[in-house]
């Protein structure tokens, strides 16, 4: 099994979900993150004092998948979150040793 982690633009969540659902993924986990990379930040001003905000809001999307599906899912995520501009983010996959569905205690691929 694989865990696919995507750090992408917050406004792309909807597109990713639609893509994954169309592909047949049953579940995913989302959380908030901030990222620093090639994308330039913006400036905030408070009483004339400027702040250069370069940690920008991102979301982290995580999907557990079988080894076979992992690469397809990677492609779905990339194609639905790509805009071609800096700040699009990174996606990576890692091996998962074991997975369990808490409700039933099923393990391995059955748990996904």
């Amino acid at each position: 099994m694989k865990l696919i982690t995507a750090i992408v633009r917050p406004e792309k969540l909807e597109a990713i979900r639609e893509g994954l659902e169309a592909y047949g993924v049953q579940g995913l986990t989302v959380s908030a993150a901030s990222g620093y990379g090639r994308q330039r930040g913006y400036t905030e001003v408070y009483r004339g004092a400027e702040y250069n905000v370069d940690l920008l809001p991102k979301i982290r999307v995580e999907v557990l998948a079988t080894d076979e599906q992992a690469d397809d899912i990677l492609d779905v995520i990339i194609s639905s979150s790509n805009t071609g501009r800096a700040g699009d983010g990174k996606v990576w996959t890692m091996d998962v040793f074991e997975a369990v569905r808490v409700r039933t205690g099923e393990r391995g691929v059955a748990a996904i």
Partner: protein
């Protein structure tokens, strides 16, 4: 002249009404997305600035009755320019009271264009609109113009009953909001984007509470007698109370859940409806009027999705609809004790016709005038931000601020001590000024970025 009881009340009422505009800023600001909350509030705040100054300079003069008027539409803007030439000791108090009405009417419009109006365009729009739309309508209804007992309309039909601003304030703002929406267009994702839901409902309730509190000044500020003041006070309690229950009942039976946003909205709808009628209906009439307004507005706020115009915070659904309800209801509910009786009290249809016609004429006047003002602004300087600015959020893109920062979970960033720019000195020279300043400048290497 020593202070009299009536003038002390006017003094208090004026402060109450001024307080309503920041209240509105919260009512509206809580309803937008977090990333547009400050901009929403700023539209109300800056209206206090622009309309307040404009009113002192020429607005008060335009709205005040005197010999020298323009076709019963507005008075000479220069006869009291800068508030000189007033002779009655109480005149400045009355000007202050009137200023607060002009301010909030303009601020009300902003709800229609939440999340996307350009702040610079809004800043220019507000004093012009107050000059060309608000001041004339105020003159026509209250200043001795067209709709008053001395005006052509008043003498042809009947003088309009609009005690505290059903036409002048609410219909006026509602129509202007609608026209602005039609000119500048819908928000990106209108009707689909779940992030368009309110980001801070306690702020909406705070706003509603401040509005209600201030509305006692709004409605009763001009009360002439104890009897009238008492009646207005009770009606200003009863109508919104009834409208709140009405709105909640609609939600309960239509959606299954009475909501707090609904309660706050119902209160405002009831306040809007009772505004023109507050001195002319009985307490039972106020309850009836409140229920009707609450139900009508609760049903009306869904219309924008059907008709496809993005009146973001329902200026039309609440202010125009309940403003018309209140204005027209006077034709039915006006009690005989306070002048002309309504249809239900044996007064015949004459007042009803006058009310309906005046509402209609106000709608047309405001629609045409607002288009004439807003369209060129939109054409030549742009009245809305770019799509990218909308996605980033108008707070950041227009004001370089974010409303909240609760810690690591929020935005973050590097502090760039560009303060040297503030005073115009080069960093190098300031380094010698004082130890702490030196420390500050040292930070300008851009390495101290932190946050999340």
């Amino acid at each position: 002249m020593e202070l009299t009881a009536g003038l002390v009340w006017l003094l208090v009422a004026s402060a109450l009404v001024l307080f309503m505009t920041p209240g509105l800023a919260f009512f509206y600001g809580g309803m937008t997305r977090a990333k547009a909350a400050l901009n929403m509030m700023m539209m109300s705040f800056v209206a206090i600035g622009t309309v307040g100054i404009m009113w002192v300079l020429w607005g008060a003069s335009m709205a005040t009755s005197n010999e020298d008027n323009f076709f019963q539409i507005f008075a000479n803007p220069f006869s009291h320019f800068g508030l000189h030439n007033f002779t009655d000791p109480a005149d400045l108090l009355k000007v202050g009271y009137a200023a607060t009405f002009a301010i909030i009417t303009v601020a009300l419009i902003s709800g229609a264009v939440a999340d996307r109006a350009k702040f610079s365009a809004w800043t220019i729009f507000t004093p012009i609109w107050a000059t060309l739309v608000y001041a004339p309508l105020a003159y026509m209804v209250w200043g001795g113009g067209l709709f008053s007992k001395d005006g052509w309309f008043g003498q042809t039909f009947a003088p309009v009953i609009d005690f505290a601003g059903g036409t002048v304030v609410h219909i006026n703002a509602g129509v202007a909001g609608l026209i602005l929406v039609l000119i500048i267009g819908n928000r990106k994702g209108f009707g689909k984007d779940p992030n368009h839901r309110p980001h801070n409902i306690p702020f909406v309730m705070l706003g509603a509470a401040i509005l209600w509190f201030g509305w006692f000044g709004f409605n009763a500020g001009a009360a002439a007698t104890v009897e009238q003041a008492g009646l207005i006070w009770i009606n200003t309690l009863a109508a919104p109370a009834a409208a709140m229950l009405g709105w909640l009942a609609v939600e309960r039976y239509r959606d299954g859940h009475p909501t707090s946003l609904g309660a706050a909205s119902g209160v405002v709808a009831g306040l809007v409806a009772i505004t023109p009628a507050c001195a002319n209906v009985s307490p039972l009439g106020a309850i009836a009027l409140g229920v009707v307004a609450g139900v009508a507005s609760a049903l009306a706020v869904g219309l924008k999705f059907k008709l496809g115009y993005d009146d973001s915070l329902d200026v039309v659904g609440v202010h125009l609809v309940s403003g018309v309800v209140g204005t027209v209801a006077i034709g039915f509910l006006a009690t005989p004790t306070q002048g002309q009786a309504g249809l239900f009290y044996g007064g015949g249809t004459s007042q009803l016709v006058a009310q309906a016609l005046a509402a209609l004429m106000s709608i047309i006047f405001t629609a045409v005038m607002t288009a004439i003002i807003a369209y060129p602004i939109h054409k030549f300087m742009g009245f809305r931000v770019s799509q990218e600015q909308e996605v980033v959020g108008v707070d950041l893109s227009l004001h370089a601020e974010t409303a909240y920062e609760f810690g690591i979970g929020g935005h973050g960033g590097s502090f760039q001590p560009l303060h040297d720019l503030i005073t115009g000195n080069a960093p190098a020279s300031s380094q010698d000024a004082a130890p702490a300043a030196g420390k500050t400048t040292e930070a300008a290497t851009g390495k101290e970025s932190v946050g999340a």
